[in-house]
């Protein structure tokens, strides 16, 4: 698809100045967000590990799952919401390319929901990241021992998932920047 200026089909409002052809980049970024959410979810859900741990004198197998910490449960829930939202909004953005007269309404809606989803994703990344950091380094002042020397696969999965989540939140920031810049470029000079 060749890049074109945004055209308005309605005749009642004057045509806006030429904006950017931003919906292609918008669709790409939204599919990136969808991919990041799905990868983050898949990696953290498949992170179960069972190890033999010395517990009260005997070696017992103890599992480590993501359900054991409420921060990770919140992480999974937040990225499920984000993945669903990215899918719906990517499809909506693809549909808007076909019908350019809905562009302005979609722009405002996208920014509002994108900002909410950014808040949810950022807090989920922060929560999971801090619990994983305590698991990695421990906290001697509080008496919390580190667990990543025992559960190495669990910690590797967590680290990968949180890194992908960070990438996903940067993608969301870029999406909102793009929408704000498009609205700004429509301001008549």
């Amino acid at each position: 698809m060749a890049s074109t200026d945004i055209e308005y089909k309605s005749t009642s409002t004057p045509p806006p100045p030429a904006g950017l052809d931003y919906f292609i980049v918008d669709v790409i970024l939204r599919f990136l967000l969808l991919a990041a959410s799905v990868v983050a979810l898949g990696v953290i859900v498949s992170s179960d590990q069972t190890e033999l741990v010395l517990f009260q004198g005997t070696l017992v197998p103890q599992p480590a799952k993501f359900q054991h910490s409420p921060a990770f449960v919140y992480f999974v829930a937040a990225f499920s919401v984000s993945g669903l939202y990215a899918l719906v909004s990517a499809l909506a953005s693809v549909a808007v390319i076909q019908k350019p007269e809905f562009k302005l309404k979609f722009l405002l809606n996208f920014i509002f929901w994108d900002t909410l989803i950014l808040g949810i994703i950022a807090s989920a990344t922060g929560a999971a990241g801090t619990v994983a950091y305590i698991g990695l380094k421990g906290n001697s002042h509080m008496g919390w021992i580190k667990v990543c020397n025992v559960y190495d696969k669990f910690c590797r999965h967590l680290a990968g998932s949180i890194a992908v989540a960070l990438f996903g939140s940067i993608v969301t920031v870029l999406l909102i920047w793009l929408s704000a810049f498009t609205i700004h470029s429509r301001i008549p000079k």
């Binding site: 806006p16 103890q62 480590a64 054991h68 910490s69 409420p70 921060a71 919140y74 405002l108 920014i111 509002f112 900002t115 909410l116 950014l118 808040g119 950022a122 807090s123 989920a124 990344t125 922060g126 929560a127 999971a128 990241g129 801090t130 619990v131 950091y133 305590i134 698991g135 380094k137 906290n139 002042h141 509080m142 008496g143 919390w144 021992i145 667990v147 939140s169 920031v173 909102i176 920047w177 929408s179 704000a180 810049f181 609205i183 700004h184 429509r186 301001i187 008549p188």
Partner: protein
């Protein structure tokens, strides 16, 4: 555009076309910025200054334990990010006032940059809130799967102060969210007029 019929004093009718602006420009963002500034300032000071020392006796040994924000990396992140948000709110308050008084052409670009920075600060603040909340939850309830004991039964006033600071910071970050939405709406109305 609406058309009114106006009657002058000498009885001459004249049609007056009134061009209505789509909506009036709202300037609530100064108030929102000041609110965000004060909330994050109070949260920073509350966490940064507060500490509690208790003597814990454990198996006939007594030792003093102190709870401070430096001892937990999530609280360090919380304090630093609230301090950054507070100073950014002050700086952007000054810049917005200066840009608004200088005219509309240059202030468009300034508003766009301030909106973009507002967004980044909002995401940072939300992430710091999530981190402090997760750590506070572990401190309050413990985590028996990972063998992390709860500490809030020992440091009870410290935990209460941290909860209050967290609530203030959550309100402050939702103020930043409202600021982003307000700035985007303002850009939108300016592009329509």
């Amino acid at each position: 555009m609406t058309t009114h019929t106006k009657t002058n004093l000498d009885g001459v009718h004249s049609d007056v076309k009134v061009v209505e602006k789509p909506t009036k420009e709202r300037s609530h963002d100064l108030f929102l910025r000041f609110l965000g500034l004060s909330l994050t300032l109070v949260a920073t000071i509350l966490v940064g200054v507060d500490n509690q020392t208790k003597v814990i006796s454990y198996a006939e040994m007594k030792f003093r334990a102190t709870a401070k924000w430096e001892y937990m990396s999530a609280m360090v992140f919380f304090v630093v990010s609230n301090a950054i948000a507070c100073s950014y709110a002050a700086a952007s308050l000054v810049i917005t006032v200066m840009a608004r008084s200088s005219g509309t052409r240059k202030s468009d670009f300034t508003d766009l940059v301030i909106t973009a920075l507002d967004l980044v600060l909002m995401a940072l603040l939300f992430s710091a809130n999530g981190a402090a909340c997760a750590v506070g939850l572990i401190a309050q309830k413990g985590n028996k799967h990972l063998q992390w004991m709860k500490v809030c039964d020992v440091f009870d006033t410290y935990c209460r102060h941290m909860t209050a600071a967290l609530v203030l910071s959550i309100i402050g970050s939702s103020v930043f969210l409202l600021l982003v939405l307000h700035s985007v709406l303002k850009l939108h109305y300016r592009s329509r007029s």
